[in-house]
Amino acid sequence: MAELYITSQKLVETLKIATQDLIETEQFFDSIQDDEWELTEGKDYKVVNKTSGLREYTSSGAYTIARYLEATQKQTFWQRLTEWITHTREEIRKAFVKKHILDNSSSLVKRNGLFFVSRSDLIAIFKTKSVYLKKMAEHTQTTQYPLIEGEDFQDLVDEGGLYYSLAGIEKLSRSFKECQSKKNRQEWCGDVGEVAKPQVDAIVAEIQNREKRIQSAMDKAKKRDGNTCQVTGQKKNHVNKLKLAAHHLYSQNGYPYLADVENNLLTLVPEVHEQFHQDYLGGTQKPCTIDDFIKFVQDYYPSNTRIIIWLNAQKQVLGNHQPTDQRKPHVLYLPASRVM
């Protein structure tokens, strides 16, 4: 793990001392060289502001100050600092586990009110191997409370295999923690059983928000285009009650991160939308780019120079993008229906 730095402000708060106490302590340390009390720049602290001399301390530097204060003021500074460092290290470790879950839960799905992730994602989350996960599951089955089908795991045929629920992951986490001999592995696997639920809740909230953001971007694009098809010029009014579509220039499935970007949307009548996706591209599931649409307009609506120019301008704004792997989309880009 990278070196943990504690700011001067945080050190003052943690040790429950006045700012002046820290300044005086620093001055004392700097005033007499080569005595018992030494703080070495680089090892014990780094200067973050050369003008003011503001420092951030490493754990060794912070402990030295705590030891000095304890020796001179007879208070429990050491314990206060230890508690802070332990807690902070734990929080940092958990943040790593959370990030790892975020990057390895594209299989997330809700069934019968429970969230499940695939076995392969779980192997990645626990940073383990297939054979060891199997061993841990088998170990769990020999305990008083084994994994229960439908509650802790489920064979999701339509998803192509074995999935584990959050409750099942918690049981597995206990088995890992019990069977691992290395402390760092015990901590990692224990943390999985601690942070997976809040992390999944946060992911689901983000997926739901994203859905709202996409809808909002679509509405804004239609308003921007004056509720008018930008290819045919047909306008929605209270008589024709035209149902307009907001077309993603970079498709949602291939470029999910652009799905809620207003500049990536263009208002079309359903006939043109259908003509582009079905007839021109060969299916709504096929990913498309702005280039595909420019070519389509040039081929089928060549007289509409205004939109061709606008599209080329948008291309500059949006830039070039590589499609994401549709077989394994990032969990944040899953359709909301999957987790609702």
Binding site: A137, Q141, T143, Q144, Y145, S165, V195, A196
Partner: protein, 215 residues
């Protein structure tokens, strides 16, 4: 003289009237009864001693209730349920927390209970549910009988698969699991008259699939 003559007679009479055959208790039969004994013995040709014993029996037992007494019901020892404090202590220990506040914040608690209905922490019932789910069998619920109880365990309240199957997880083989399931199916399969039950069998199926899963 008269007195001396009559006295031995009285003593003799008294001895006769009060002597009870073998183990009978000594009950004085009055003159009326004794006269009747003599009359019956004479008329019916019966043994006086037998009649006297019978009279003794009647005098001794005529007030007693002839109905057979019901066997004494031995009341089962009253099981003391766990207190709320004891339930909480067990749950706090399992999730390594100090109090309810920490429990509510615990990520592992949130995960482990994610499939459970919303829990009411203000009621003992909620804590008992947690105890059943994570700690073990509540006092008084061991060897339960009635609907859904198999091998002393209520399979709808507990996930104690091994107990329900009557197996030891340390030693049971897959063949033992299969055999236990087969035996239970013979009783609870919905097609079995009288004992078959769809809900019980469905739960047993879940248990069997859980133990039989190749992870």
């Amino acid at each position: 003289m008269t007195a001396t003559k009559t006295r031995p007679k009285k003593v003799q009479q008294s001895t006769e009237s009060t002597t009870v055959k073998e183990n009978m208790s000594k009950i004085t039969l009055n003159q009326l009864v004794q006269n009747e004994i003599s009359r019956l013995a004479k008329v019916q040709g019966l043994d006086t001693a037998t009649l006297r014993a019978f009279a003794q029996f009647v005098v001794e037992n005529h007030k007693k209730d002839s109905k057979p007494k019901p066997p004494k019901v031995v009341k089962p020892e009253k099981v003391k349920p766990l207190t709320l404090a004891q339930l909480k202590k067990a749950i706090f220990g399992y999730f390594a927390v100090k109090d309810v506040k920490e429990l509510k914040k615990s990520g592992s608690f949130a995960m482990a209970t994610s499939g459970m209905e919303k829990l009411d922490f203000s009621k003992k019932d909620g804590w008992e549910k947690l105890y059943r789910k994570f700690i073990g069998v509540l006092p008084g619920e061991e060897n339960e009988t009635g609907y859904g109880c198999i091998n002393g365990i209520n399979i709808f309240k507990y996930d104690l698969v091994w107990k329900a199957f009557g197996l030891d997880p340390e030693t049971a083989t897959s063949e033992d699991i299969k055999s236990a399931y087969r035996e239970l199916s013979k009783v609870y399969h919905p097609d079995i008259p009288n004992t078959g039950d769809a809900q019980v069998f469905a739960r047993l199926n879940v248990f069997y699939k859980s133990l039989n899963q190749r992870f």
